[in-house]
């Protein structure tokens, strides 16, 4: 079974969380993030919801320093990653596992090589141990036996699950999931939800999920936040979200289109 590497108590552990403060980011004049404030507590499972194109994936990339905000700060365990040097940034990233929206598997490598790359680069594990770890990770996502396949030979949902196996291979303390259940059948999706919960509760992995799938959001989250027009406009438990009074949140979770978003021309 996967166990977390032994953690010492350092001053760092006192600030174990992710803090996003006043983050702004635009692309070619398009202001996508407009002052995002958000705190992700250690051990919690938080889901970010929001309309397609509102900047959820962009926000996730900021959390691991793949994108740098124009203004604002992001601290991970007390360390500011927006001003971190490359070496320090890599140290911080070692704590993260990321499932990308399109899985982002290395298509020149087999499934096994994809999952073991981090282990080979950062640990001194031998081939047998690595093969074991790969099998464990693949079993967790119900994909054992696909070790020798290339990503091109997998379906979209299978790729997503291999991406997930790769994200957990290094036993990260934070896992970011960008739409983990999109494109999966309901049963596989539910097993992924169970896996997210398992990692969060049994291995106390801090979990950040981006999703449109409200079933999944209600099931896996301690807290749901909504990103709208570049800001976090709502934060609440799944129950509070179901009964949200705010119009935008209520319409989003119930899947109702905004009447004004249609232009009704008179005939």
């Amino acid at each position: 079974m996967l166990t977390r590497l032994g953690e010492q108590i350092t001053p760092e552990t006192l600030f174990k969380m992710i803090e996003v403060r006043g983050v702004h980011r635009s692309f070619n004049g398009k202001h996508v993030l407009r002052g995002v404030d958000m705190t992700i507590e250690t051990g919690e499972s938080i889901t970010i919801i929001g309309q397609s194109g509102c900047g959820k994936s962009v926000l996730l990339k900021h959390l691991v320093g793949l994108m740098v905000p124009e203004s604002g700060t992001i601290t991970v365990d007390g360390r500011d990653i927006t001003s971190a040097r490359r070496k320090e940034l890599y140290e911080i990233r070692m704590k993260f596992g990321v499932l990308f929206q399109g899985a982002a598997l290395f298509d020149s490598m087999t499934v096994e090589e994809n999952i073991s790359l981090g282990l080979r680069q950062h640990t001194a594990l031998g081939d047998a141990e690595i093969a074991n770890r790969v099998r464990e990770c693949l079993t967790l996502v119900n994909m054992d036996g696909t070790q020798k396949l290339k990503p091109a030979e997998l379906s979209g949902g299978m790729r997503k699950r291999v991406g997930l196996a790769r994200a957990i291979a290094m036993q990260p303390s934070y896992i970011l999931y960008d739409e983990p259940t999109t494109g999966l059948d309901p049963i596989t999706a539910d097993s992924i939800n169970d896996l997210i919960i398992h990692l969060n509760q049994k291995l106390s992995v801090t979990t950040v999920v981006v999703t449109h799938d409200m079933v999944s959001a209600y099931k896996v989250s301690d807290r749901i936040v909504m990103l709208h027009e570049g800001r976090i406009i709502f934060s609440g438990t799944p129950d509070e979200t179901k009964n949200a009074k705010t119009d935008i949140v209520r319409r989003f979770v119930n899947g109702e289109a905004d009447a004004q978003s249609y232009v009704i021309t008179s005939y």
Partner: protein
Amino acid sequence: MANSTHNLAGKVGRRTLEFMSELGRFTKLVGRVISEIGGIFQDRGLFIQECVTLGVDSLPLVLIVGLFTGAVSGWQGHYQMEGYLPFEFIGPGTFKAVLLELGPVLTALIIAGRVSASIAAELGTMKVTEQIDALETMAISSVRYLAVPRVAAMTVMMPVLTAQAIFVAMLGASFVCIVLLGMTSNQFWGLIPNFFKLYDVFAGLFKSLFFGLAASLLGCYIGFRTEGGAEGVGMATITAFVWSCLAILVIDFLLALMLF
């Protein structure tokens, strides 16, 4: 009229600024490649694999380039010297031309153009499908893991490939002169040792090393900055090919000023 002049000035200014910032980012990549060059020892397998791929994949092309370059040089040499100079000079003349210019430059234009385009396509695809982001989040430097082995392999292999091309070119030239133009073997080869300078060999291969370096760095740079899906990758491929060809010609000129 005034307006269009204004526009033109604005356009030139903007282009210049773009070029300067582009140059700045390219320099930054070069700096990172240098600072992470130790990566070849950490991932020796990647470097060796790149060398083998480059060497093996490029060999047929190198042989063809070399053969025809040599053949045409021999034929042209014969045509130009006929009636002015003894045929004994065709051999040394061809050898110098092939060693100093034709071998390094033509091999570089074909191999480096092709390889830098393929590097740009490969890294560009990885960029637009977020594979580079994935690598970086795994705390693996994309420069160390992707750029360093390619640049190092290309820089090492270019002189090797060029040497092969030069060798084959001389065979091609001798074939044309001896078999097609009826010279004796001694007529063709006889004077070459008298004109042979080790410095020329060094200069020719040294040039090709720079061509390999420039072309692979450009391929990596253009690959890494690719945006916008399949179309972006297509653009990156063409850009890498064109830029590395231009770079080779410019570098050839600059090195000629310095070396000869």
